[in-house]
């Protein structure tokens, strides 16, 4: 059981990490849209870019990264399915 407690602690830590990144790219970065719009790369004002593309890419990568990390935690604590 103590192993399960540790397992859940690590799982929770990963959850909060992912949610923090999610929160940053869902909200925080877009607070600064006006300042970011002054930077232009390949024609994209960066404030616009992050809402249209940048944050989305982060979300996709974040989920795959989470899946990998969580699988590793599963295996480490012997609670994975195989």
């Amino acid at each position: 059981m103590s192993s399960n407690v540790q397992y859940w602690e690590k799982t929770k830590k990963l959850m909060w990490t992912v949610l923090a990144i999610w929160f940053f790219f869902s909200f925080v970065i877009h607070f600064f849209v006006k300042a970011l719009n002054n930077i232009v790369i390949l024609g994209f004002p960066m404030g616009f870019y992050f809402a249209a593309q940048g944050s989305l890419i982060v979300f996709v990568v974040l989920i795959f990264w989470y899946a990998k990390k969580q699988n590793a935690i599963d295996e480490e604590h012997g609670v994975s399915e195989t």
Binding site: N4, Y7, W8, T11, L14, M15, V18, L19, W22, F25, S26, F27, H30, F31, V33, K34, N37, V40, I41, L42, G43, F44, P45, G47, F48, Y49, A51, A52, Q53, S55, L56, I57, F59, V60, L62, I63, F64, Y66, A67, Q70, N71, D74, G78, V79, S80, E81
Partner: protein, 583 residues
């Protein structure tokens, strides 16, 4: 049967590869027919009926007499394919046809939808999908009923599910009617029932199993149809077939032209339609709503393992991302076209697409100052035009317009399928089996499931055929309703063991009630907005109300039984079998 099924799963890449190739070949074949002088109308009909025939074929091949196949596709859908199915389940007719148009009209502020409808999947992946998969429910209310001990939670779950899914499915059937009538010229009321037929053949015989494999087929068509016109346009204008990259240049040109024309509401400028509070509230409500919509969550019940459920959410978002990160390119190219070739031109000599879509009232020109030249303010564009007219703007042959129609139809049908199944399964599994007749054998349960499915579908189609403007405008409410009524109960059910039955029931009721009161009160009751938050973001009040009520009531009631706490512990680890017995 099992053997052929195994063969099917192992050969998915090959089967769907041949299918995608076959579809492209079909498009080329129709293009040749068009060059040979076959009329547009015939090409339109071929597109619509042949794609529906393919979906029907898959639907009939996937018929089943097994409960677990009917409700969760036998839990053997590989993550990538479940991702594609979720993609088409998620992207509605409105996403396909209208999203780019909203971005055209709203500029930066419209990106709240792009963010809101993607970011929610992070919450699905981390907070819910793997645990619900381990739990092994057939439906979302089934989870609530088991975790919160009884029919009160289950009934509330069904009510919320119904409130958020039914208006949504009506809107999807309405969209199939609009697309079919626009491209085939058939009367709208008839087109709605053609759409209904397209939905029923995919879902009735095979339930989740049939819907899954048709949704994969529909995803392939809709993404091809969405990408081809805009890739073409990008190649013609900038020489690079990557619209998502080249529209940066379009944004620069737009900025220059906006200044010349004297437009004050700039495309790139934030907070012109929504103030920051409303912009961020909308993102928040759409994200939490995404993570609580039953027709999405139930897709993750179908993967072979918990590990696959996690990965599958990633694939889902990837396939959704392909469309959503292209939509702003459509919007930018359309705006550039309008600023360059439409505004400031002689009204007598506008581009052809303006005429074509003007004839059916989607583009309106009103020469207010009667100078024969079109000003920016004299032009009104329906949001659907942006995607629908791009083939003509790019100078593509009619066959591509037919392709776009087939794509829009695929998007609307696949979403309707998923929603319909979510509603009908809640009624047949949760109401009939769990509450009315727990002794029913599997044969009887399947018959009941199918009858309910048909009744719900016919009712929604009838409602859609009356063009109920009130119901259609309520679709956007689904996200706030799901976020307020279901999200807190689902998340706390997994993550906070101390959540009691009374707490969850009270929380769901409170969230649902606050959300509905705000929605209905501000719309019909003459109630003023609270803190200026628009009613689409009613979840801003419903969500905190639900969380707060759940926590307070849970702390006031005795903690859940040892048995329930062990049950939650079991749900939190992937190891072991699914935890519910479905009889």
């Amino acid at each position: 049967m099992n053997q052929t099924k195994g063969g099917f799963i192992e050969n998915l890449h090959k089967i769907y590869g041949i299918y995608a190739g076959g579809f492209l070949g079909f498009v080329v074949f129709l293009a040749i027919l068009e060059q040979l002088g076959v009329p547009n109308r015939v090409i339109g009909y071929l597109f619509v009926f042949l794609t529906i025939a393919v979906y029907a074929f898959i639907g009939i091949l996937s018929r089943t007499t097994q409960l677990s196949e009917y409700y969760v596709a036998g839990r053997q859908v590989p993550p990538i394919y479940n991702g594609m199915a979720t993609g088409s389940d998620w992207m509605s007719g409105a996403s396909f046809v209208g999203m780019a148009g909203s971005l055209y009209l709203l500029g930066y502020d419209g990106l709240a939808f792009v963010l809101g409808w993607t970011g929610g999947y992070v919450l699905v992946a981390v907070l819910l999908a793997p645990f619900l998969r381990k739990f092994g429910a057939y439906t979302v209310p089934d989870f609530l009923g088991t975790r919160y001990g009884g029919n009160a939670a289950r009934t509330l779950g069904i009510l919320v599910l119904f409130a958020c899914s039914f208006t949504y499915v009506t809107a999807q059937i309405y969209a199939t009617g609009i697309i079919a009538s626009r491209f085939l010229g058939m009367p709208f009321e008839v087109a709605v029932f053609v759409g209904l037929l397209g939905i029923l053949v995919c879902s009735m015989l095979g339930g989740m199993r049939a819907v899954t494999w048709t949704q994969v087929a529909q995803y392939i068509i809709l993404i091809i149809a969405y990408l081809i016109p805009v890739i073409w346009l990008s190649t013609v204008n900038y020489g690079i077939p990557l619209p998502q990259l080249t529209y940066g240049q379009a944004l620069q040109e737009i900025a220059v032209l906006e200044q010349q024309v004297g437009i004050t509401k700039l495309h790139n400028a934030p907070f012109t339609d929504y103030d920051p509070l409303n912009f961020f509230s909308l993102i928040f409500c759409l994200m939490l709503g995404t993570a609580a919509l039953p027709h999405i969550l139930m897709r993750f019940f179908t993967t072979p393992s918990v590990r696959d459920a996690r990965k599958s959410v990633g694939w889902s978002l990837f396939f959704i991302f392909l469309l959503y990160f292209t939509a702003p390119a459509y919007a930018a190219f359309a705006k550039l076209e309008v600023l360059k070739n439409v505004v400031g031109q002689q009204i007598a000599s506008l581009p052809r697409w303006v005429d074509i879509w003007g004839q059916i009232g989607l583009v309106k020109i009103n020469d207010a100052n009667a100078d024969g030249i079109l000003q920016w303010a004299e032009l009104t564009i329906n949001r659907d035009v942006v995607v629908l007219a791009t083939p003509e703007i790019a100078g593509l042959p009619y066959v591509i317009a037919g392709l776009v129609a087939a794509g829009g139809l695929a998007a609307a049908l696949s979403t309707a399928d998923g929603l319909l199944l979510a509603i009908a399964n809640a009624l047949s599994h949760d109401v009939y089996y769990r509450m009315v007749n727990p002794q029913a054998d599997s044969k009887k349960r399947l018959i009941v499931a199918r009858i309910i499915l048909v009744i719900v579908a016919v009712f929604a189609a009838w409602l859609a055929s009356t063009k109920p403007s009130d119901i259609l405008s309520m679709v956007a409410w689904a996200f706030s309703i799901a976020a307020s009524g279901l999200f807190p109960a689902l998340v706390l059910g997994v993550w906070w063991k101390r959540t009691t039955n009374a707490g969850a029931v009270a929380g769901m009721a409170a969230g649902f009630a606050v959300c509905l009161i705000y929605l209905l009160g501000t719309r019909y009751g003459g109630m003023g907005l609270w803190f200026g938050i628009k009613n689409i973001s009613a979840g801003m009040f419903g969500i905190p109300a639900a969380f707060l009520t759940t926590v307070v009531v849970s702390l006031m009631t005795p903690e859940p039984s040892k048995e329930m706490q062990d049950f939650v512990d079991q749900m939190r680890i992937p190891k072991g079998d699914v935890m519910t017995d479905m009889g």
